[in-house]
């Protein structure tokens, strides 16, 4: 994922309307771009062209179905640990070596390493945490989601 910011004026009002509208959902009809475009005053072809460009310039990271690992029988869990500064990179390598680690961020807190585990079964979370604890000698705290409040992200139209 690009961490570069697009130059001012890279997006026009229509691009921003697309970014806002398509976060809500997308039709499962035979010509879904025609249908989604109509709501935005665009033809299907115009919407496709704009989406291609938005993807090309990196304004969107993904466009498509978002899958829920938990509903597929798997599990997701946010985890954190405190890595000593001097040992931080080595610990990060040990954690990242697990394919179950989907992403991992360094954060400025006593709990300085935050990662998300995605496993094919719910038991996989505890098993992976146990392996990481054994390898690093550090305690892994688990923060599974109890409830989710999703609305999305709005760009100024």
């Amino acid at each position: 994922m690009s961490r570069k910011t697009l130059p001012q004026g890279a997006l026009d009002a229509t691009d921003r309307a697309i970014l806002n509208a398509l976060q809500e959902g997308f039709p499962l009809s035979p010509r879904p771009y025609d249908e989604a475009g109509a709501a935005l005053g665009l033809t299907g072809a115009e919407l496709i062209a704009r989406l291609s460009r938005l993807r090309e310039i990196g304004a969107i990271t993904r466009f498509g179905p978002f899958f829920d690992a938990a509903a597929m029988g798997g599990a997701f869990c946010l985890c954190a640990l405190s890595a000593p500064d001097a040992d931080f990179d080595r610990i990060a390598d040990l954690v990242n070596a697990h394919p179950e680690v989907a992403h991992n961020y360094a954060r400025d807190h006593a709990l300085n390493m935050w990662f998300v585990l995605a496993t094919p079964t719910p038991e996989g979370i505890g098993e992976t945490c146990a392996r990481i604890e054994a390898e690093t000698g550090l305690t892994v705290l688990q923060f599974p989601k109890l409830e989710e409040f999703f609305i999305g992200f709005r760009v100024a139209a």
Binding site: P30, G44, L141, F153
Partner: protein
Amino acid sequence: MMLDQTDRRLITATQAGLPLVDQPYAQIARDLDLSEAQVTHRLAAMQARGIIRRIAIAPNHYALGMTANGMSVWDVDDAHASALGQQVGALDFVTHCYLRPRARPMWPYNLFAMLHGTTRAEVEEKRAQVRALLGPALRADDILYSTRILKKTGLRLKGD
């Protein structure tokens, strides 16, 4: 909730994204040797079962100028946490908002909200708005800025 082989092929075929062509579901159907109706019915069924949360766009916050991102965390009275979480999640600058278990004594916070802004000052301003919204139910809070991305991969399905 089991997925059959065809569902798994559909997931594999679409997890990188939906084709940008007039009839994307017909194209997926051709690629997988299915009918278009099979593709849309199965996608609809997976959506109904919650396996697909939604078919949608994911904006790149960084590219859109939202370069300051903080994980704000809040210790909110349990009796009000669910109702207040809903309100925090509805704020337009909050992307992900979750209720999670505390891990006392190290971690007293139960509400997590990702805040995005163009600068840290802007994120702090938004954090103040969340604080005001939580009112007397709030006992303590903190914010954790990410200093480095150590790893980032998409969803990976085991190919069984």
